[in-house]
Symmetry: C2
């Protein structure tokens, strides 16, 4: 079971779009995939049009609730552990708990039966993110093709280092995923070059800017349902193939 945090504290770099479409592509390849929404914005629930009863908040703070009770099937082979805005309260309550950075990994210790678990992380440097980073073994980092996002990458690497050194949990960057790529735009090419220089072979083929990706969310569909021939569908399909190629066989 691969446990992967999709994380970048810079806002709007396509974390949720990557989480949903990559998970959907892998599910279509007959892998069982769980999406955990770590973000109180609850964009995963909005995307799949689910109104959660029990959510991340209950998993973290209610000893009587198991993760399995909160998990909702949304497509074949694709499941969601949703979040709601009360998860923002979890942040304040967690602060006072012992082992506050590891509550999620304690609660999900027995969770199994999936090929992939993806955590869609909020754009922040908070305890919810630390909980995601101490549960996941790997990080995928979507980076949009802009200067402020590029500058933010250094920050993520420091956060992961902190998790390794101070919290004693091994998590590494597996993939860096360029998003909103537009090859006609010099800035896009420059940012991509810098990422490839810095991360060597970990940088995937870029996800191109494609308005169909944004439209799919408003139709509560994955890109494969909304427009399977679009650039967005092809790019996320290619990303899924790369992830599968790097996944040890079961």
């Amino acid at each position: 079971m691969r446990k992967i945090a999709i994380i970048n504290q810079k806002g709007g770099t396509a974390k949720t779009t990557t989480a949903v479409n990559l998970a959907a592509a892998l599910a279509a390849h007959d892998r069982t995939v769980l999406l955990i929404d770590m973000d109180p914005q609850g964009n995963i629930s909005t995307w799949f049009d689910i109104v959660p009863q029990k959510s991340l908040y209950h998993v973290l703070l209610d000893e009587t609730v198991t993760p399995e009770e909160c998990i909702v099937p949304v497509r074949q082979n694709l499941y969601v552990l949703p979040s709601t805005k009360i998860a923002a309260q979890a942040e304040l309550i967690l602060t006072g708990l012992p082992g506050r950075e590891r509550v999620l990994s304690r609660k999900l210790a027995k969770l199994g039966g999936y090929d992939f678990v993806f955590l869609d992380c909020p754009p922040s440097l908070n305890l919810l993110n630390q909980n995601a980073m101490t549960y996941a073994d790997e990080a995928f980092i979507p980076v949009s093709m802009d200067y402020l996002a590029l500058v933010g990458v250094k920050q993520i690497l420091e956060n992961l280092k902190m998790v390794r050194e101070i919290l004693g949990h091994e998590i590494d960057v597996s993939l860096v995923i360029p998003t909103f790529y537009d090859r006609r735009n010099r800035k896009s090419r420059e940012v991509l070059e810098k990422l490839e220089l810095h991360f060597n072979g970990k940088v995937t083929d870029p996800i191109r800017a494609n308005v169909r990706l944004a439209e799919a969310a408003s139709h509560h569909q994955t890109i494969f349902e909304y427009d399977p021939t679009s650039l967005g569908a092809r790019d996320y399909q290619r990303l899924a193939e790369r992830v599968l190629a790097e996944t040890p066989s079961r």
Copy 2:
């Protein structure tokens, strides 16, 4: 002195881009403007290429430090109170303090001498943002032309309501600023229509999608310095004129 939070917990809606360019346009109109960076990402400092000595963290948590010591002039009539990544620690320390939502307004109580104070807020629902909301009297909400950002607007209104009702501080939405607008794109027009329906006269003319705005940041320039004839420069100029028209004369 107008105290205005530029806020939206959805990531990447152009909060920082709006804060920098609107502040610059008003400074060029001979108003004195302070930009407070509430975001541990420190994108305001990155934009103006400043390496802060003292920052928001010290203002919030160090009783011996005054705000004036941390404020840096960056352009004529334009000043910055910078943030650094240690502000993320402030979040955890603030949690344990009495009156934790109002530490900023306590610390800035004597701050004066500016026509405008803008707070560039992080994309989250945390204590730093609550501190911004109990200091500011008004909120400007940049909303990008996409479905997830539109859904997120409801959340901001609830947060502001919480500040009014639970924390007893009056803060209202003054302006809703559509960003990344592309009139060729149906989604843009639809989102803009929905905003105008919901917010009546508070929705400004849109800020159009314009790559020059993104390029300006990497050159550490405002849009007026980088490309004064660009769409971005014209749109932020028009926004500044609207803000000035609605500002009681001194």
